[in-house]
Amino acid sequence: MSTSQIVIEAQNLFKEFSGIIAVNEVSLNVSKGEIFSLVGPDGAGKSTFIRLLCTILAPDSGSARVLGFDIRKEPEEIRRLVGYMPQKFSLYEDLTVEENLNFYAHIFSIPLEEAQKREDEVLKFSRLAPFRNKRAGTLSGGMKQKLALSCTLMHSPSILFLDEPTTGVDPISRREFWQLLFDLKAKGTTIFLATPYLEEAERSNRVAFMHTGRIIACNTPEKFKTSFKEKIIRLKSDHLLEAKEALLKVWPDLKIINYGSELRIISGDVSERKRKISKILMKNAIPLAELEITDPDLNDVFIQILQEKNYGNN
């Protein structure tokens, strides 16, 4: 990673809106060809941070370079070289797939002949070619997202900024969309995305957790998981809360999260603990459906970091 080229370099970026701090002294670097995710709750400042880097908004203080250009002094250069797909991408629903692409070619002043060629490439890439004459409004959610991405790709950007690209998209379309992102990465495109879903962040090369305008942790998904000192015991039972109560009676300080129809027990010595849990439940005549040791997922990591840093979890 040390020899790689830095394409996004932010230093102490700061932005407030009438007294409310949206981005609070954020510094980070992203290398060429990386897929980088910014994860955090609503209002954490993710979208604002992306807009600062795309030069849609100007910072109050701090600086950033995108592809070597200064976001304050050289916004035009940056805009030519980056693609931005906002959360609510404006597709013309009553225009066809092809007409939408033409429109974006026009916005980016791509000469007609080149635009034709580029359109074919982009449609082939996104596998939307069979739908080129369909109206955008009639496409499924997953296909609309692919079309939005295609529009963003018309001017062949070197960096793509994606704001919540697959929110509300089903798992199969999500995987197809990510296949496209990995294909772009293989060609050297850098991808910077914001998402509230850790499931999505996990597919990136690096993840930064953002909270109340700050980046509170940044690492690869694997290192985040190995840095989690404890393990998880998953417990499923039809009598979930009774099970929780029985365990807390024995270990009042045990970290237990009831999550839908399972308990997630966070603990160090898990194999010993697991054995004792079976015993306790048996003694209390609580039937057990599943009990297994598992690695933490990014949700567990994120929630623990929030608690450690005293942000609470509400």
């Binding site: 209002g43 499924s140 798992p171 199969i172 296949q179 690869t220 694997e222 009831n258």
Partner: protein
Amino acid sequence: MEIIEIQNLTKKFADLTAVNIASLSIPEGVIFGLLGPNGSGKTTAIRILCGILPPTSGKALVMGLDSFYQAERIRGFVGYTSQFCSLYEDLTVEENLEFYAQIYGVESKAKREEILSRYELSRFRNRRIRELPPGKKQWVALACAVMHEPRILFLDEPTSGMDPASRKDFWEELSILKQKCTILITTHLLDEAERCQMIAFMHLGRVLAVGTPREIKAVPQGKVFNVILPDPVSFLSELSVSPFVQDAYLFGNILRVIVQDQEGAAKLIAMTRDRDARIQETNFSLEDCYVRLVHLEGNAT
């Protein structure tokens, strides 16, 4: 008799068959997750079960009663939150709660207050729904749907737009509600599906698979490996032309490879030699199972 029973249920809109479920039963007291692409029939199925839509043919029984033709007798026992926000956007949080309290005949004001404070909505009580962030709206919708203590709760994509911390709180609340009620929930997130007791995958109106997450993951034949190596992209293109590889895709810094059998595994391990690779056998994820089912379905039709 289970709390929900579906037999040969179809729903057609003009030429389109939105729902075509041969049979599905949901036992009382579970959290049941329904997964599928938009347009796969999840929302239509829920609307039939809620008594909002009549089926074209077949039966949907809720607590032993016909969900549409005996809807009057079921209504008081059912709570529903729609994917498209079932709230009045121009009314405040409190006014919405009052409205639903009237519909469901919940007279106690204390009950409303209790729910406002339990869902941390008290300080939003005078805010109009349209001014709330999407995550909060879902909490209001849940509050409106559970005030009358239903026995069955239908939640259509309730966590869409919610951040990780409030999703955790939401699922924590579901595990409490589940003590007194059966929950049918739709989601696009497979980590949420893992936390249901039972799940079903829907595709083109049909149910492709149903069972506990563990049962569903035990179905596919094959071996799954996580491979971490310096240049995953070029290795992936080699794998994609290797006949023993069933599926291979990038997941962050990890290359996931699915092979048929032990022989395929040996070939994969041989290919990773001299590549500075770390290779580890792992299990099928729900996503793997889902993708595979849909592909099988695609090949069959």
